[in-house]
């Protein structure tokens, strides 16, 4: 039989999380070593015998055996998870305890526990995201570096430091204490949001890498929704915005690997199942009194998702939603998107006026899509030479070949 896509990556996260729970967070490196060993064994046997019926169960059972070996061999020399200490000391309780810790419910909690542990307040947000990708999603340093268009050395340093902080914390995050859970939840949501955005808007040129990051974020947010304390209106809103954006992924990059602007996308390529799922989640998010940026972003995405054509979009409503978003989470990027919506609603002159009036627009000076928006609106009101100038500026700022190609096309559209 064939292993499913990314089986090893998925199982990596589950096994590291389970073993870290048993060994204790200070033994994170040991847990990773044992998981590597389980993979080596799997490959050594499977290459001659074929993939077993249930490869995930085979891997997990191997990890369990390896864990028991380590616990028996090293229980006098090492301390393991403090809360399990005495259970692991005696041979009579060791095997049943480990068996229970590898049960399906325990494993689900392990992933969540690890997710919360990775979002440690002492770690900067971008480090939390890298750590989640590395530990929970099984991305290697090189794979993270390629996704973030960063160097191997830079990512390695980031991850090594982050692991040190994680391993230095006394124990894994306790997900059973409601107050602690809710306190850390917003950091976890933010990390998953950033992970998704890195995939959606990020700097990597490779379409495959980008959609993988989006899918990992969606997988983890689904896990959060399965936990009673994690399934808050805000988490639903976050999940909704991910679905509604991910629905547009197939139309965002065409077969030749070129970017398509939202207004030019072939809407028949949008994933209708994800749209429906997103709308359902958005409905579930509409309880409680809190209106978060995720809610508003999901609402904006839902306006696009349900508009049959660019012209049929309710731009007035979208502008109003951007106004709200600006008050909740003010940022020059939000202001930029608002200006583009205003241009759709009231014409390019009004849009340009808004673009020039963005308070901290100098923060967008390295962002290619500010200049590109200026070019787009100048082009729309017939000032070709000015538009070309802006597109050239944008082209010079492009961060990857895909953006460069897209912006070169816009330059030549001004002829």
């Amino acid at each position: 039989m064939e292993p499913s896509d990314h089986l090893f990556r998925r199982e990596w996260g589950r096994m590291v999380a389970a073993l870290t729970r048993i060994f204790g967070v200070h033994n994170l490196a040991l847990a990773e070593d044992v998981v590597q060993e389980a993979f080596c064994r799997a490959i050594e046997v499977w290459r001659f015998r074929g993939i077993p019926e249930n490869p995930a169960a085979w891997l997990m059972a191997t990890a369990k055996h390896c864990a028991l070996d380590v616990l028996r061999r090293e229980r006098t020399a090492r301390t393991f998870a403090p809360e399990l200490g005495r259970w692991l000391q005696s041979e009579g309780t060791l095997a049943p305890v480990v068996e229970e810790l590898f049960g399906p419910n325990a494993l689900k909690d392990d992933l969540l526990r690890m997710m919360f542990s990775c979002c440690h307040p002492r770690l900067p947000e971008e480090v939390q995201v890298a750590l989640v990708l590395h530990i929970l999603c099984g991305f290697s340093v090189d794979e993270i570096a390629s996704a973030f268009v960063s160097s191997h050395a830079a990512i390695e340093k980031r991850i090594t430091r982050a692991k040190k902080v994680l391993a230095g914390s006394k124990r894994l995050f306790d997900i059973t204490a409601p107050a602690d859970f809710s306190g850390r939840l917003s950091a976890v949501q933010q990390a998953l949001y950033l992970l998704f955005n890195e995939g959606y808007h990020g700097s990597s040129a490779e379409a495959a890498v980008r959609s993988e990051l989006c899918h990992e974020a969606m997988r983890l947010v689904a896990l959060l929704l399965e936990h009673p304390l994690g399934a808050t209106p805000t988490t639903y809103a976050l999940a909704a915005l991910m679905c509604l954006h991910a629905a547009r992924l197939p139309a965002r990059v065409d077969a030749s690997g070129s970017l398509n602007a939202l207004v030019d996308q072939d809407r028949s390529l949008w994933d209708q199942e994800l749209v429906d799922e997103g709308l359902k989640l958005l409905e579930l998010s509409a309880t409680g009194s809190e209106l978060t940026a995720y809610h508003v972003e999901a609402a904006i995405a839902s306006m696009h998702a349900t508009a049959p054509r660019t012209e049929g979009t309710d731009w007035g409503k979208i502008v109003a939603l951007y106004d709200t978003l600006l008050t909740i989470r003010p940022s020059p990027i939000v202001a930029l998107n608002r200006a583009i919506a205003i241009a759709q609603y009231e014409g390019p002159e009004r849009g340009l006026a808004e673009l020039h009036a963005i308070d901290d627009r100098e923060r967008l000076s390295a962002y290619p899509f500010y200049a590109a928006a200026l070019g787009e609106l100048e082009l729309r009101r017939g000032r070709h030479a000015t538009a070309r100038q802006h597109f050239r500026t944008a082209h010079a700022l492009a961060r990857n070949p895909m953006e460069r190609r897209f912006l070169a096309q816009r330059v030549s559209a001004c002829d």
């Binding site: 090893f8 499977w46 290459r47 001659f48």
Partner: protein, 113 residues
């Protein structure tokens, strides 16, 4: 047709889970094709990388093969091929070669009594 033993050496498997899975998938395809063409006489065994070595008249027992990782035999199979050249040709498809490993092709001696 004659029998040949393949000795697979090297344990340098890529470290990223995704790369490992791709590597494994290549093995599975290669091995399946070999079997489908009727070349697999004995699917052999994977071998642990640890063990003991018993040596000399004094029967000295040492731990492990402890050779370098690239020299450790990780497993063997027995194939059937027309001749040595054919067996070597078949071995060239083995994915272990892509990760710095090697396949030693050894004709199995024919016992003619």
């Amino acid at each position: 047709m004659s029998a040949f033993t393949y000795l697979f050496r090297g344990r340098q498997i890529p470290t990223s889970p995704e790369q490992r899975q791709k590597h494994l998938e290549k093995w599975v395809v290669w091995f399946q094709e070999l079997g489908a063409q009727g070349h697999v006489k004995d699917p052999g065994h994977p071998l642990e990388s640890t063990g003991k070595v018993v040596n000399g008249n004094q029967k000295i027992v040492k731990d492990g093969p402890y050779a370098e990782a690239k020299d450790i035999v990780g497993g063997y199979i027995v194939v059937e091929a027309n001749d040595l050249a054919h067996a070597v040709e078949l071995a060239k498809g083995c994915p272990i070669l892509e990760v710095g490993g090697s396949v030693e092709v050894r004709p199995v001696q024919k016992l003619e009594m």
